[in-house]
Symmetry: C2
Subunit: 415 residues, 2 copies
């Protein structure tokens, strides 16, 4: 089963916004067994939209369109779709009531262009957009399904999860698909492939293994398709456990979640707390953690200690350590981690200090040199890393390495 995504709107084509919607949609479609053949971004132009849609219909059975549904004159998606499907317009009363209610709640006056958001092509099925005024429209055409959704990410995401994905599964009577993801770290894709070659070769036809590498991590995803969900789950689990047993020391999580979310889950369950002490990552680790709702049961807070003075005053790093070994050293990073542990009174603390670049490198400590430490009541460990030489990459890889080290400590001293 193939799908295509069409995004409409000049914001993407002038580079004002990055299209994050398409990647998210593609991932979700993949999980229910629908493959994305092409993603196309076109302008708010009737002819261009029509051309893209007609071509997409030749290649795929599902076309998901986002954007171009606002109340302003630029947004001609709806008129173009009606013309394409040869439909007239009707005013959808349920949508109008919903829009009116939203305006009432925000105490804002409605003008005619707001009413017109309730006008829809008369042959479409309207799907209520709980989080906004633009309705979602579902068309069936030549055996294909075409869905038009607003481009606002959370409106689109909610619609996809609650409405579109279940309806697509239903419409095409898609076979069950079961996934199991194993997150590995500290091993490259090709080396991993060698390690698990035999298991991979023994997989039955209907179970696929995908390698999804990303900055020092590789996600292994087993996907199994068939008519019996329970059987699929058992099979996938069977092969997953074989892989895990074979590469145990590289496995960090047996779920498809972010590293920091895995840490929060484990620590929350064990009622442990965490703090951070960041120099070169500059708050990036704290920010990754605090993205997640409910993180406050585990994460107490931390310090961004860019200057040496703050390393001393906030974390209690000894000025002599800084003097003798420098800010980027095993001694300093350990004192930072221990300082966070005691000053912030947490069960675990992580510390990072390094040369993110582009400046600040020396022959002995070139750009990309990073020390990371994890401290707990049982011990403090530190590791030296040498990453690339671009600032953004060094920061991101440092954060991933730090989170991996915390997870390793938790896995080791855990159960």
């Amino acid at each position: 089963m193939l799908a295509e995504i069409i995004t409409i709107g000049d914001e993407i084509l002038i580079g004002q916004i990055v299209d994050t919607n398409s990647a998210w949609m593609a991932k979700e479609l993949n999980l229910i067994g629908i493959k994305v053949k092409q993603i196309t971004s076109v302008s708010d132009d009737a002819e261009h939209i029509t051309e893209a849609l007609a071509l997409a219909e030749k290649r795929a059975k599902v076309i998901l369109i986002t954007g171009g549904l606002g109340p302003t004159k630029d947004d001609i998606t709806k008129i173009t779709l009606a013309k394409y499907f040869n439909m007239g317009f009707r005013r959808d009363e349920a949508t109008l009531a919903h829009i009116t209610e939203i305006f009432r709640r925000h105490n804002r006056p409605m003008i005619e262009s707001n009413n017109m958001q309730a006008d829809v092509p008369d042959g479409c099925t309207v799907i209520k957009n709980e989080n906004g005024t633009a309705p979602c429209m579902w068309f069936e055409h030549n055996g294909n399904i075409i869905v038009s959704m607003p481009g606002v990410p959370f409106e689109m995401m909610y619609l996809m999860q609650e409405q579109i994905l279940p309806r697509l599964k239903e419409s095409f009577k898609l076979p069950f698909i079961v996934h199991k993801t194993i997150l590995t770290a500290n091993i490259g894709e090709s080396f991993l492939a060698v390690e698990i070659e035999q298991i991979e070769n023994s997989l039955p036809e209907h179970i696929k293994l995908a390698y999804l590498p990303k900055l020092g991590q590789v996600r292994l995803r087993l996907s199994s398709t068939g008519p019996e969900e329970t059987v699929l789950k058992e099979e996938v689990e069977y092969y997953a456990q074989q892989i895990i047993a074979k590469v145990k020391k590289y496995v960090v999580v047996e779920e498809d979640i972010a590293l920091e979310k895995a840490i929060l889950n484990i620590m929350n369950e064990r009622k442990l707390t965490l703090s951070t002490a960041e120099s070169c990552t500059g708050g990036y680790i704290a920010q990754l953690i605090t993205q997640h709702p409910g993180c406050s049961s585990v994460y107490i807070g931390g310090a961004v200690v860019y200057s040496n003075k703050l390393k001393e005053s906030v974390l209690g790093v000894n000025p002599e350590t800084l003097n003798n070994h420098g800010a980027v050293s095993e001694q300093t990073v350990k004192e930072m981690a221990l300082g966070a542990l005691t000053h912030f009174r947490t069960d675990y603390a992580v510390a990072v200090t390094g040369v993110a670049g582009p400046d600040g490198g020396t022959p002995g400590k070139p750009v990309g040199t990073v020390w990371i430490a994890v401290a707990s009541s049982s011990r403090v460990i530190a590791r030296l890393f040498n990453f690339g030489n671009k600032r953004a990459q060094n920061i991101e890889r440092s954060a991933i390495a730090a989170l991996t080290m915390i997870l390793n400590e938790l896995n080791q001293y855990g159960d």
Copy 2:
């Protein structure tokens, strides 16, 4: 002049990576007066690549292709391009020497697939990729220019800036284009449009004004195209100054840079220092600031104080203040800012405390309630905000509001 972007590779189509390249390229092309007509993401499939390229050639004169140039068998871009342009292959000696040098430097053995990265279609111009092994290839075909680049962002960016953009300007003898961007905050796009309507209507034909809104900010971009660069600059500056005079109180920066970069520039020039005290933004502000190389001359560091205990121990917030007014209150946010100012010894400090959600809201302080304070030796000011109700948005809008407040303080007490 129209361009199209084609990205090749399954990573985007399975949602494993977000395509940030295209937005960046579109923005850069726009700045030299080339408009992007369509962005297309296709799979590593010869027929599909050929179809996309043929269609793009009908719509645009410049086609920029990224991705699909790695050494693995999946990457069939090069073979497909050679076939499409009806070319044979040659081994490019300069490229081979460059690849060999990279492997030598990293002390890694070369295998045949690495050598093959130096094979290129014999009718293309090879452009050296300073940052990687995959060469950039420039084709001229039916009066169109087609460029194939690696998909690794920093390799692509370097190639675009140093090579492709200058060559495109040269090839098409593009007219000069001069931009001036004014960043405004605290005013909506439509209200801004009313304010400057008369100035907009008085603009000559060759000067365009674009509204680029993004989360509480609107960038106004004046673009002028013509044969005489000096004249264009003077004209654009003339109209920019009219706009600035008209909406002065909403203008935060007169340059196309990020808010935090504008802060760093001003503070660096005035030799001022900054610290942060973040609760609900969880390190996001620190992270925005520390993205920028050289930030350490201004930014000393800060605290992420998720728990009340840390607000007390790290920032010296009075327990009674927290007890009497709560963590999300004017009193607390002011003590946080003053605490950062004194404990971290900086000239300015910013503090944020709020309910990011989805949990933690109360009838009096619903999700999205955020207090922000900026402290300096002259005064401490605090403002209450009520943002939306999604966590990620609340965090991002809080950060933007905090940075805007710092800029306003600097602009007010500055010169």
